[in-house]
């Protein structure tokens, strides 16, 4: 009897697997096809647009880990984007363009910032958590503004993309695209593993009922802090890639509006769904990019669209897809 219960979702036949995984498979397939199709159109425009989509997908994915799976509304997530980007910029300003040095610094600085701010923020709950993460995000923003040696308010242009083992491998757009694609794939698989693991089950349990989790013996703080650090580090990776994609680093990467956009991407795609976060980032950025072609008043369409999705498509775009695709 126990077998039957436990394995009800495991013994799914291949068609069910395909159906369940249809959205992520399709998403990644599309992203994989872009560089091959792009060469027949405006290649550099399309590549840079979809690189941005994938970079923000990583950022949204990382936010989803704490926002969607942990129900912790972090309003300062863009700060990690900034830490990752500034690690590239600051090192580059000192002549260090080696990715194998820049990337560890990007990840480490994001992780430390997450550890320190998370340790303080996670002592609060609800609105206070939102406010304190916002405050830390703003602190990071003003810190960047005050870095006069690194462009201050204006930011700074990078001399070139990061070099890999001394070689300018990433100067080619397609190479950078491939790297970002792999990074997104890796983050997605890692996140999937995380949320179904023992660790992830504790995080998900805390979202449902923190008191119950404490009453069965889980000291939640250390689990949530660990997730916060993982999410921050992952977003730091996005920042590293973002600096390389734009060739530019600026405080504008970590405004609170940016943090808000990341939340919108996660909610738009479907809270607590990893491929939902990717879908949300893509939908957000592509609408923002293409709607202005139709009308200069595109924000009049974009705003209500977001409201409608939140109001009527519970579970975001993914929820809507599911309902269209069959049973809800």
């Amino acid at each position: 009897m126990e077998k039957a219960v436990v394995s009800s979702s495991e013994t799914a036949a291949p068609p069910a697997f395909l159906r369940r995984e249809a959205v992520p498979l399709l998403l990644f397939a599309l992203l994989l096809v872009v560089p091959f199709v792009a060469r027949f159109f405006a290649e550099s425009y399309l590549l840079s647009l979809f690189m941005r989509v994938m970079i923000f997908a990583i950022a949204a994915l990382s936010l989803d880990l704490i926002l969607g799976y942990g129900a912790l509304v972090s309003f300062g997530h863009a700060a990690f984007l900034g830490f990752g980007a500034y690690a590239v910029g600051i090192l580059a300003a000192h002549g260090i363009t080696e990715a194998t040095l820049q990337l560890p610094l990007a990840l480490l600085s994001s992780a430390v910032f997450a550890l320190v701010t998370g340790a303080l923020s996670l002592r609060t709950k609800g609105v206070y958590f939102i406010m304190i993460t916002l405050a830390f995000g703003q602190m990071a923003f003003f810190l960047a503004v005050s870095l006069a040696a690194y462009g201050g308010d204006d930011g700074m242009t990078l001399p070139g993309r990061s070099r890999l083992f001394g070689l300018p491998l990433l100067e080619d757009d397609r190479a950078l695209y491939a790297l970002i694609f792999l990074a997104l794939g890796g983050c997605y698989l890692l996140s999937r593993s995380l949320v179904i693991s023992r660790f992830g089950r504790v995080i998900r349990g805390a979202r449902e009922n923190p008191q119950r989790m404490a009453a069965i013996g889980f000291p939640l703080f250390r689990y949530q802090l660990t997730m916060y650090v993982i999410a921050g580090t992952m977003c730091g990776l996005a920042g590293f890639l973002f600096a390389n994609q734009t060739g530019f680093v600026s405080p504008a990467y970590m405004t609170w509006q940016r943090s808000g956009e990341l939340i919108v991407m996660v909610v738009l795609g479907g809270l607590g769904s990893l491929h939902g976060a990717i879908l949300g980032a893509a939908a957000f950025l592509l609408l923002e990019e293409w709607l202005p072609d139709f009308t200069e008043h595109w924000k009049m369409i974009f705003g209500p669209f977001l409201v409608l999705v939140v109001l009527f498509a519970r579970g975001g775009l993914l929820g809507a897809l599911r309902r269209i695709g069959g049973r809800g």
Binding site: M1, E2, V5, V6, S7, S8, S9, E10, S193, L194, I196, S197, R198, F199, G200, R201, V202, R204, G205, E208, N209, Q211, R212, M213, A214, A215, I216, G217, F218, P219, Y223, T226
Partner: protein
């Protein structure tokens, strides 16, 4: 004479000027079922909160197996074997019934800082969870979403979760609250079956259940224990009848 497993010494708690727990002394014997009764607002739930670590005590000591636990957090107390249930149903509604219990097992079986491998597929966790579900008679509901259970089943599930934590002392805060007569009959039988295997501190308003189940009863009035004794002794106690059972004593 069995040994004392849980001891409360001069336990106090105030909410502002209101003394909710006043100098409570209580010794729980190993494997007894000890009930605490008292009128509404007597401070029964607060006392459970203090013992379980959900609410801090202002003064006094709590000893589990002669070791002081007064300042431990709730999760730390759970790992020492002090487990509670809640008056208002507290489950993970979006998880399956089995996973609700498996999580409680997971809290005690190795580290939960494991980032790989599918937790829901861990046979050892699921087997132990299933045993707890069988014990409370909820095995056939294992795959259901916990939020979809009937109220009585949710109460059963809470008990299964508590049992899966392998408690030495079980603190039950009104396990029968809100259940219909049939449901409570089943739950009473379940508690009866646990009697003698686990030490239980029971708060309950259903007097029939209390007098049927308890080895000993303590009466809490305005935060003070005014009497402790066997059900028969409590029934005959004059103070209790005045203060609680609401009888005029001629």
């Amino acid at each position: 004479m069995s040994a004392v497993i849980l001891r409360l010494e001069h336990l106090c708690k105030n909410y502002g000027a209101l003394a909710v727990t006043q100098d409570v002394n209580l010794a729980l014997l190993e494997n007894e079922l000890h009930a605490i009764i008292g009128p509404n607002g007597a401070g029964k739930t607060t006392l459970i909160h203090q013992i379980s670590g959900l609410a801090p005590s202002d003064s006094g000591r709590i000893l589990l197996e002669s070791k002081e636990i007064t300042h431990l957090t709730m999760p730390e107390r759970v790992h020492r074997g002090l487990v509670r249930s809640f008056q208002i149903t507290s489950i993970l509604p979006g998880f399956s019934v089995l996973e609700n219990v498996a999580l409680a097992v997971q809290a005690h079986e190795g580290s939960s800082f494991r980032f790989f491998g599918r937790a829901a597929g861990e046979a050892k966790l699921n087997r132990q969870a299933m045993e707890a579900l069988e014990e409370v008679g909820l095995a056939d509901r294992a795959a259901r979403r916990a939020g979809l259970l009937s109220h009585g089943e949710k109460r059963q599930l809470e008990l299964a979760i508590a049992l899966a934590a392998k408690p030495k002392v079980l603190l039950l805060d009104e396990p029968l609250a809100g259940t219909g007569p049939e449901e409570s009959e089943g739950l009473i039988a379940l508690l009866q079956s646990l009697k003698g295997r686990i030490t239980i501190l029971l708060i309950e308003h259903d007097m029939d259940a209390v007098f049927a189940l308890a080895d000993r009863i303590s009466v809490l009035v305005y935060g003070q224990i005014i009497a402790t004794g066997s059900p028969a002794e409590i029934r005959e106690n004059r103070d209790v009848r005045v203060a609680y059972l609401g009888e005029e004593v001629a």
